[in-house]
Amino acid sequence: MEEDIQKPQIDQAVSDSHEVRTGAELLCSLLMQAGVDTIFGYPGGAVLPIYDALYSVPIRHILTRHEQGAIHAAQGFSRVTGRPGIVLATSGPGATNLVTGIADAFMDSTPLVIFTGQVTAESIGRDAFQEADIIGITMPVTKHNFQVRDIKDLPQIVADAFHLATTGRPGPVLIDLPKNITSGPASDHVLPESHIRGYKLPGAPKKEEVDALIAAINQAKKPLLYIGGGIISSGASELVRQFASRSQIPVVSTLLGLGAFPVRDPLFAGMLGMHGTYAANRAVTECDVLIALGVRFDDRVTGKLQRFSPHSIKIHVDIDAAEIGKNVAVHIPIVADVGLTLKEMLLRDVHLDTRGWHEQILLWNEEWPLQYHASDEDLKPQQVVELIAKHTHENAIVTTEVGQHQMWAALFYPFSRPRQFVTSGGLGTMGFGFPAALGAQVAKPDATVVCIAGDASFQMNIQELQTVVENGLPVKIAIINNRYLGMVRQWQQFFYESRYAESKIGSPDFVKVAQAYGALGLRATTFAQAEAALTEAFAYQGPVIIDFVVKEEENVFPMVPPGKGTDEMTLEWEE
């Protein structure tokens, strides 16, 4: 629906000219027909036939240094393109190393097609070397998974896997490939149409549903649009912008919705939830009609359920019927594609006077803006994020790891377009951001890609430095180095009497690490050094690590303490 979602082109010429003899060659042919041009993976015994077949086809393979790096890279690739990320790993440990990324993609509805090698069919169930029941292991964290037991099924399974991964609520789909299938004979085949009985795809909403939605909006005094990652999946950002601008309804966004609505737009009240802005959380608490679009009422958003938006009529539009009423009871449920719903909404008459309400929100933002105490002695993490925004003209693709720096990036980088912000929302996976940046850079070689990382998180997939260096990927890694597991320390400070059990964490000299891998390493401990380092980093053509040595005990505010309502925000910690 939106221009930045590129539909893969089926290259018939390539598939026709390719002679298929083995299952692995058939797989390569099917992948090309599905429009795959890039795979992230790591070879091993059970996938050797596939690697051998890949050797002679025009598909780019990015060899990471760990399977977890490969799958997070594929997630980054998918999140910035809207196309499915493709992953290939061997059986056993190769497959199990993917599980964290699979679960992460499942929680954040990222389309992935994952291929795992498996021991030969005759060895399955006998605890063969490098055997793992990856179907059983990934059943709860995939949208669906398949094991190919007959080569004749492979074309249909590949077609179904791509269809499942990318339609409806997107998600990861895994195909397990026993070695006898990929090394055995196969005949030429064309990728068929997907046909899955029992797979229902909600499309446009019913007319009466949109009537009810618009009627509720038209009676509102204090309406609020609550948008999430579904807006980005559906390619509906432009439609939300149009609807908000036409109706003058203010907007709050989830973490994964950031970028779907421009932060600089005056109608934007900010991110809501545990670390949401004061204005966003107050607006949610006081609104009388809450229009939830492509969101799932995550507990990090709602806080204590009884106190969540207590006075509002709740409208929920989602493509996944099971999300409706899962956490919060809604008055007007609509199971439909959010983009198609917005299109319908734009055709209706909305007549509202939201001026007073909008002014109130602006006033809250003015009175309680996002703030921090800048000082000459310390470099503040928030400053670093603001500087990165300035040096990238607010135009970079930003990925993050998980923790305090993630929240500072979410709050202080003014995102303006969908697929600009790539972060692990649902699973909260440390180690996600750097490989995701790698994948984003592979997908968008000309874009400026910045990974805002924590010193602890970065160490979880630090080995991928070799991958970015080897592939000449000019990813900039900004480490907000506070020598702590920052968010853990913050919680220990607030809720465990500052007993910092195991949250103090050591790091290597990141500048030397960068140099050892062949990247540029820079360090900044003052504001001036930070400015200089960023100037140098963005002028440099290759990968750069900047170690920003920041104040250790800085906290993320606002904060809704766990178990509290969104109206019980803490703006500054009272000792």
Partner: protein, 170 residues
């Protein structure tokens, strides 16, 4: 309240694990679950007895409906349905208790499927309550073993012709 769900699924390896796994992962209750071939080759019908309020039941159905191998989910708790369970009960007997047991069995229309010197095995079909009642009556004689199938069920023709509202619409 008790819920009976009739679930049509593809007859493929792992489908029971997918459905049962969903229940445990989402913290839904399973009182009983039965599976067998359905009317169409390649499909199986599961009858799942669970419990929960209306919101939970709806959530269970919607989550089930998301499982790719699930073709159709129907809540038949409130509709007229034929619900049957089969149980085999092996009870201790001796010369004196045998006539007494036969007397008890009579109104239950059970089949005695195996007789030994010191025991007999009874096959009973019917509602869960009927099976429970029989077990209760036989228990004082000494029950050696019980095997129950769990409930299997189908909507009655009248209900099926009139009302499809309990199916998940999505």
């Amino acid at each position: 309240m008790e819920r009976t769900l009739s679930v049509l699924v593809n007859d493929r390896p792992g489908v029971l694990a997918r459905v049962a796994g969903l229940f445990s992962r989402r913290d839904f209750n399973i009182a009983s679950i039965t599976v067998g071939a359905a009317e169409e080759p390649g499909l199986s019908r599961m009858t799942i007895v669970s419990s929960g309020d209306d919101a939970t039941a709806l959530q269970i159905m919607r989550q089930l409906d998301k499982v790719i191998e699930v073709i159709q989910v129907t809540d038949i708790s409130k509709d007229p349905a034929v619900k049957r369970e089969l149980a085999l009960i092996k009870v201790t007997t001796n010369k004196t208790t045998r006539p007494e047991i036969s007397h008890i069995l009579e109104p239950f229309r059970v089949a005695i499927v195996d007789v030994g010197h010191g025991s007999l095995t009874v096959q009973v079909t019917g509602s869960g309550e009927k099976v429970d009642a029989l077990i209760g009556l036989l228990r004082p004689f000494g029950i050696l073993e019980i095997a129950r199938t769990g409930v299997t069920a189908l909507l009655r023709a009248v209900a099926q012709e009139e009302d499809h509202s309990s199916e998940v619409v999505s």
